[in-house]
């Protein structure tokens, strides 16, 4: 009674607490409960996914290997000018011998050699020869070392070796990113790689244009299907939808293997063409292990991801608008182009971005039906991983690809909203 007498505008709960405070507490409790429900999964995804990816990407700038294994040489090179036309002085060679002796002892010399070999082919051989030499000599008595080293491998007498060593000795380094965009600094300055070794920019570009083309073909083929689905009786639409959903649910490996079977030189398509007489038996079409195969297969594989968002937007377009346009004198084309099509643009945006995001990161299909000329950037990343073990470059290429995908993801979120993603 007392509190409501003095402050008539303040509501309170039955035990006299202000209602506002009580509600605030209830809300806070609700928030905490919601967060507790999300926390285990969030922790799982952050620990098991985001952090591993983050740490993998830091390998793209990590270059401690050189400094760790060759500390004296790196220090001695500090004072040497990369543009100098003279080899580094005797002290630097002495530091190199000292470092290599320690490295040979610890069996780390080849780790260093491999790191440098990514940038300068032949470095491994140089280090191997030098290692054999330094095992025999005594640092205190057997000087000078310069000529001995050059004799072990003439590479030690070349300016390029020392320039590369100086350029790639700092950590963190931009060296891997430079390789990822076909640049090198073996000469001490950033320069384009020779054409025969420039592959990454071309692959990024190929991944982009082929994904764009796949996206466009998907739109051209998917638009009529989505239109048909949205405009026939629901009973038929459900039946036709199954023909879109079955490919969607069928294993990617299954669809890729069937394309491999279909497109082969002895495959079903060539066989049919020969049987009809369109193609001579000894002149079968090459449809696999090239760009054509990748485009045909990936368009089919990604088509459901274009049709489903288009369909869900087209379902909401009221048919009365087109009828109204026609009753006002528009012909079929005008009614479609000026009235229906603009309303379907959100679906086009959603489908196109989704297909493009998925295509850009594709690995399996280009690997199996692409051959060397249909390879995507993902395949190059896997190749760097398996064949060269160049993890820094894997990190750098991966970061560039990831940033591109995240920008698209952000656009997708703007256009569609991630909480509006629908499946099936």
């Amino acid at each position: 009674m007392s509190s409501s007498d003095t402050k008539p505008d303040m509501l309170s709960t039955h035990d006299g607490e202000p209602l506002k405070k009580s509600l605030g507490r209830a809300l806070r409790r609700q928030k905490i409960r919601a967060l507790l429900l999300i926390a285990p999964l969030l922790a799982f995804v952050i620990l098991g996914f985001l952090m591993p990816i983050g740490s993998m990407l830091t390998r793209s700038i990590d270059n401690e290997v050189v400094e760790e294994i060759m500390p004296q040489t790196v220090a001695a090179l500090e004072s040497w000018d990369v543009d100098s036309t003279e080899l580094p002085p005797e002290e630097t060679f002495r530091a190199l011998v000292a470092d290599l002796q320690v490295a040979a002892e610890n069996r780390t010399a080849l780790t260093f050699a491999r790191r440098m070999n990514y940038e300068l082919a032949g470095f491994t051989t140089m280090v191997r020869r030098a290692q054999r030499l330094v095992r025999r000599i005594d640092l205190e008595t057997d000087g000078p070392f310069r000529d001995m080293m050059i004799e072990s491998h003439e590479g030690w007498g070349e300016l390029e070796t020392w320039r590369a060593l100086k350029a790639y000795s700092s950590s963190p380094t931009i060296g891997y990113y430079l390789s990822a965009v076909d640049r090198t600094m073996v000469s001490g300055h950033i320069e384009p790689l020779p054409d025969d070794r420039s592959i990454h920019l071309m692959l990024f570009w190929r991944t982009a244009w082929m994904s764009g083309l796949i996206c466009f073909l998907g739109l051209v083929l998917g638009y009529p299907i989505a239109f048909l689905l949205a405009n026939v009786k629901e009973r038929y639409a459900n039946l036709l939808l199954i023909m879109v959903l079955l490919p969607f649910w069928t294993s990617l490996l299954v669809r890729t293997s069937s394309w491999k079977v279909l497109l082969q030189e002895q495959g079903v398509i060539n066989q049919t063409l020969v049987w009809i007489g369109l193609v001579a038996d000894d002149n079968r079409l090459t449809m696999i292990n090239n760009k054509f195969g990748v485009i045909v297969a990936m368009t089919q594989i990604l088509l459901p991801f274009m049709i489903l968002p288009l369909y869900s937007v087209m379902k909401t377009i009221p048919p009365s608008y087109v009828r109204a346009a026609k009753s006002l004198g528009a012909n079929d084309w005008t009614a479609f182009w000026r009235v229906y099509f603009p309303q379907s643009i959100p679906g086009i945006g959603a489908g196109a971005i989704l297909v493009f995001i998925m295509a850009v990161g594709y690995y399996i299909t280009p690997e199996l039906v692409g051959g060397p000329s249909g390879m995507f950037i993902s395949n190059r990343i896997a190749h760097q991983w398996y064949v060269s073990g160049n993890w820094g470059l894997v990190g750098a290429l991966g970061t560039i690809l990831l940033v591109a995908v995240l920008v698209l993801y952000w656009v997708y979120d703007r256009v569609v909203g991630i909480d509006n993603v629908k499946l099936g």
């Binding site: 429900l37 285990p40 740490s55 293997s257």
Partner: protein, 283 residues
């Protein structure tokens, strides 16, 4: 979209042309999947229809590729691995994912957008990047090349699908039902299992199917995170396709198509049930 009786000849032509175009696109979508089925019964080790097959001669058909699949130890190991990895990964992503989806669809959740973005990110990040990252992480904690390593990696990949399908189902969930249960004395756990879970079950099951197929179909991450002992069906198929392509792959592929038909049918039944529950007729 029926053709009106007053349609002009041009409209008539377009009406049928449009249907033909659609039929061709449907053919393009379905043919690569359907062509595998008859080819898998080929009596020869070819990837084309033999003259005997085209003549429907029984001698042209055989079950030998299926027999090979069920007797070859490599394929059997791969099948066993697939069938033990996928259900466990599904279980983990569904149980954690459903809880998180319920949390995310409360009315007042701080940082909802950011958390949603994080939880959906495994679906967006290119697989090769996820695989490389997880390889280092799982090596560091000693799970690389183990069953649990592959299971956890696949569980992470399945999470976005569970989150998306379950939050979509929760949009139509009537919150007063849980309040009613609570007012009648049921605790949060009992409310969840007796009231909320039965109603959102279709969403949970379709999320589980997505998570299952994601793991069952996955090949890049398992190659990086697993070792030869965890070789799954898609992995074995991938090797087979890259090195020497053996017709047994067609038999495996046909069985996998049958599996996806089964999954699709289950989902369709769930969808109809869900629509009925919400008072919308499936038409």
């Amino acid at each position: 979209m029926a053709l009106p009786s007053y349609a002009s000849p041009l409209q008539r032509v377009w009406y049928y042309a449009f249907r033909v175009i659609c039929a061709l696109v449907f053919f393009y979508l379905m043919f690569p999947i359907l062509v595998i089925l008859p080819l898998s019964f080929n009596a020869e080790d070819f990837f084309t229809f033999t003259p005997e097959m085209l003549a429907l001669d029984p001698a042209g058909f055989s079950l030998k590729h299926y027999v090979d699949f069920f007797t070859n130890p490599d394929w059997q190991l791969a099948m066993r691995n697939s069938l033990t990895i996928a259900p466990m990964a599904t279980l983990i992503s569904v149980s954690l994912g459903t809880l998180a989806a319920i949390g995310l669809s409360q009315t007042h959740v701080p940082f909802k957008r950011a958390m949603m973005a994080i939880l959906i990110s495994p679906m967006i990040v290119p697989l090769i990047i996820s695989a490389a990252g997880m390889y280092f992480f799982f090596s560091a904690i000693g799970l690389q090349g183990t069953y649990w390593g592959v299971v956890l990696a696949h569980a992470i990949l399945g999470i976005p699908f569970v989150i998306i399908t379950v939050t979509a189902t929760l949009v139509g969930f009537d919150r007063s039902l849980t309040r009613a249960a609570a007012s009648m004395g049921a605790g949060p756990v009992k409310t969840f299992f007796k009231v909320q879970l039965p109603l959102i079950l279709p969403g949970v099951i379709s999320g589980a199917l997505f998570a299952f197929i994601t793991s069952f179909d996955e090949v890049v991450v398992v190659i990086f995170v697993g070792s030869a002992g965890q070789k799954t069906l898609p992995w074995q198929m991938f090797i087979g396709l890259r090195e020497q392509i053996s017709p047994t792959i067609l038999a495996v592929a046909s069985l996998m198509v049958a599996l996806s038909i089964l999954l699709l049918a289950t989902l369709e039944i769930l969808r109809r049930r869900n629509e009925r529950l919400r008072g919308m007729s499936p038409g």
